[in-house]
Amino acid sequence: MIGSKILLVDDEEIFCNNMTKLLQNRSYKVTAVYNGESAIKALEQEKYDVVVLDLKMPGMNGIATLKQIKELGIITETLLLTGHGSIDSAVEAIRLGAYDFLTKPCEIDELVEKIEGAWRKKDDAWKKDMEEKLKKVVESPSAVFKLFV
């Protein structure tokens, strides 16, 4: 989806910067951070549609970051990037609620395809959430004040 907001998290600055440009060339709004802690801060400050998260990072690794993201309770989808597609990391990531994972190096088109898939899932979740909130407003108009709290 053109204009989707992507948070790219990878300790490899070259990859991060160049991938940011590639995604920006495809009209995505990309923010790049280089570690898990920065990613959590960014997500606390701003909403992102899709988080592209590297699994192997010094300090807070991809799995730990994913757990924190889930604890934030925000509506976003996470794509994992791994060095090689090992079953343990894949199972762990999917179990924790990641949308999918990709092995590095990955084709830009493949990544875009996954981002689109993740965005659709996130959009569905957002719509569902909105419907539930609207339903509450219809049922109880005073609830409108709580919508954006």
Partner: protein
């Protein structure tokens, strides 16, 4: 393989368990022989004592019996003379021919009587019959005469006397009113000897008589002649039987009642206890034979056990070396995984940079830079594949998930098998469904399964045969059918085809299909076989659309 040939245990090579071998052999031998020695020895001592005791009792009884027999013999002879003297009287005995008749009747009864004489109180012969001319002889000063005059009865010691031949006298005194006379008979020692010897029941025993001075009154079998001094010193009179054991000779002595003679029975204990010695020797032989068998069994058993231990130790050592090697490789791979992970990042950086470069270069340079960018991509991909292959080699249990184009994979395998197919002029007929999707699966493992099935099919079909490969989409994945026009499978083949080490003439090594089944189960698929409607075998491979993983606490599908 352990050395099964039997060699002497002490010389066999047990480099690590020699001490154990010695200890086990010592303990087993001790535990086998100690009870044997205690029980066997105890039984032998008990039996030997019992046998000796019983034998001694029997011997004593025999000695008493021997003495009684001799006493009876002498008593009877005395009674004979008493009866003759009482029945006949002096006048009758002196009548012509009477004494000869009496001697004759006595000799008929017992030939040991040599002569018979009637002697007056002055010691002169009143009548005599016998082989010697003894009528003029006077016995007034002889010991036996004095004894008979004193006691009424006398049995003399053996002496040679006037006749110079060993003999002894039995004499009885008779009073007829105021007339006193003596009836005297001579017993020949040679004949009496036979009687005494015959009375001794034990043929191995030496039985003889000695007088109170220790002179032989009968011949002894072993170095004892009549009237010579014997080695036995007669003790004072005693009742019963006296037993004396000296060296290997056992001597039983007892005094006669009728005469002051000592009855001696001597026997060699070696002869006496020959039976018990034989039993002892037989027992010893049995123990030695049994011991030999026990020792052989112990050596053989211990050898076998220690050989097994040695073999086990060698195997353990080999296993240990392998484990060490495996541990080394594992640690190396752990290290390598980190290195490869970094390498992957580097390749990823190159790849993404190449992609960016390709997009940002101006149109003028497009041809040359495109080429360079393609080279960067291809090298990056090649590097990644290389790392994937290496990691797969290092940890074959970890599947590498990738998007698999099954049609392309089958095409590659068929090309790979081209040489083998051309050799037998085998045709491969493919029927691939159009619009076939890629599946996310462990591509390398799937490739191994399909390669195994196609290689087996190529082996199964005869020259000019055909292999059929078709694909179709199913609800939750895809199905690949690989069939051939070979001879098909028998009932047993169908049952055991996927078991390890079960091989058929289809060319399977015995592991290929077993491994294939495991792979398919691991990636969530299935493999099955059936015979074709007309001929040949049909293998069905079902591959799930998304990778299915099986974990103890998780089950799911990675979306395609």
């Amino acid at each position: 393989m352990p050395d099964r040939s039997f060699t002497i245990s002490a010389t066999r090579d047990f480099p690590y368990y020699r001490k154990v071998w010695k200890k086990v052999v010592a303990i087993l031998i001790a535990s086998a022989f100690l009870p044997l020695a205690i029980i066997g020895g105890g039984m032998y001592v008990y039996l030997a004592r019992t046998i000796k005791h019983k034998t001694m009792e029997a011997l004593q009884a025999e000695a008493v019996s021997h003495k009684r027999d001799i006493d009876s013999f002498l008593t009877e002879r005395i009674m004979d003379l008493k009866l003759i003297s009482e029945n006949n009287g002096l006048s009758k005995m002196m009548s012509p021919g009477a004494i000869e008749q009496v001697l004759s009747s006595l000799q008929r009864e017992l030939p040991c009587f040599q002569d018979l004489g009637v002697i007056g109180a002055d010691g002169e012969h009143l009548a005599y019959t016998g082989p010697y001319d003894l009528k003029a002889k006077n016995y007034r000063n002889t010991v036996w005469f004095k004894a008979v005059m004193d006691d009424g009865v006398s049995v003399s010691d053996v002496f040679t006397g006037f006749r110079n031949v060993p003999h002894f006298i039995i004499a009885v005194k008779r009073n007829e009113g105021k007339t006193l006379w003596i009836l005297r008979a001579t017993v020949m020692s040679s004949l009496f000897d036979n009687i005494v010897t015959q009375l001794a029941g034990n043929t191995k025993a030496d039985a003889y008589l000695i007088n109170s001075k220790g002179d032989f009154q009968t011949n002894a079998r072993k170095g004892g002649e009549l009237m010579m001094k014997s080695q036995v010193l007669p003790p004072g009179r005693f009742k019963g039987v006296q037993v004396e054991e000296k060296g290997t000779t056992l001597t039983l002595t007892t005094w006669l009642e009728t005469v002051s003679w000592l009855s001696v029975v001597s026997i060699d204990t070696r002869d006496l206890f020959e039976d018990s010695r034989r039993v002892r020797n037989m027992g010893l032989f049995v123990i030695l034979l049994g011991g030999f068998v026990i020792i052989l069994s112990i050596l053989f058993t211990t050898d076998s056990l220690v050989s097994m231990l040695e073999e086990k130790r060698k195997n353990n050592r080999r296993l240990d070396l392998r484990l060490r090697r495996a541990a080394f490789l594992a640690s190396l791979m752990k290290l390598s995984k980190g290195v490869f992970s970094d390498l992957t990042d580097i390749l990823s950086n190159i790849h993404v940079t190449g992609t960016l470069m390709k997009e940002q270069i101006g149109l003028a340079d497009v041809c040359e830079t495109d080429l360079m960018a393609e080279q960067i991509f291809s090298e990056a991909i090649r590097g990644r594949n290389l790392i994937d292959s290496f990691i797969r080699f290092a940890g074959p249990e970890d599947p590498v998930i990738m998007a698999v184009d099954i049609h392309m994979m089958l095409d590659h395998i068929i090309v790979f098998l081209r040489t083998a197919l051309i050799e037998k002029n085998i045709g491969v007929i493919t029927d691939f469904q159009a619009g076939f999707p890629t599946v996310r699966s462990d591509g390398n493992a799937l490739c191994q399964v399909l390669l195994t099935l196609l290689v087996n099919a190529a082996s199964a079909v005869s020259a000019n045969g055909s292999i059929f490969v078709s694909t179709s989409m199913k609800e939750n994945g895809v199905m690949i059918l690989i069939s051939d026009d070979g001879p098909g499978l028998g009932k047993a083949d169908m049952e055991y085809l996927f078991e390890p080490q079960y091989s058929t003439d289809r060319g399977d090594s015995g592991f290929g299909l077993s491994i294939s089944r495991d792979i398919m189960e691991r990636i969530g698929g299935r493999i099955s076989v059936r015979n074709g409607e007309e001929h040949g075998a049909v293998f069905e491979v079902q591959v799930p659309g998304g990778f299915v993983w099986e974990y103890p606490d998780a089950k799911g599908v990675i979306p395609n």
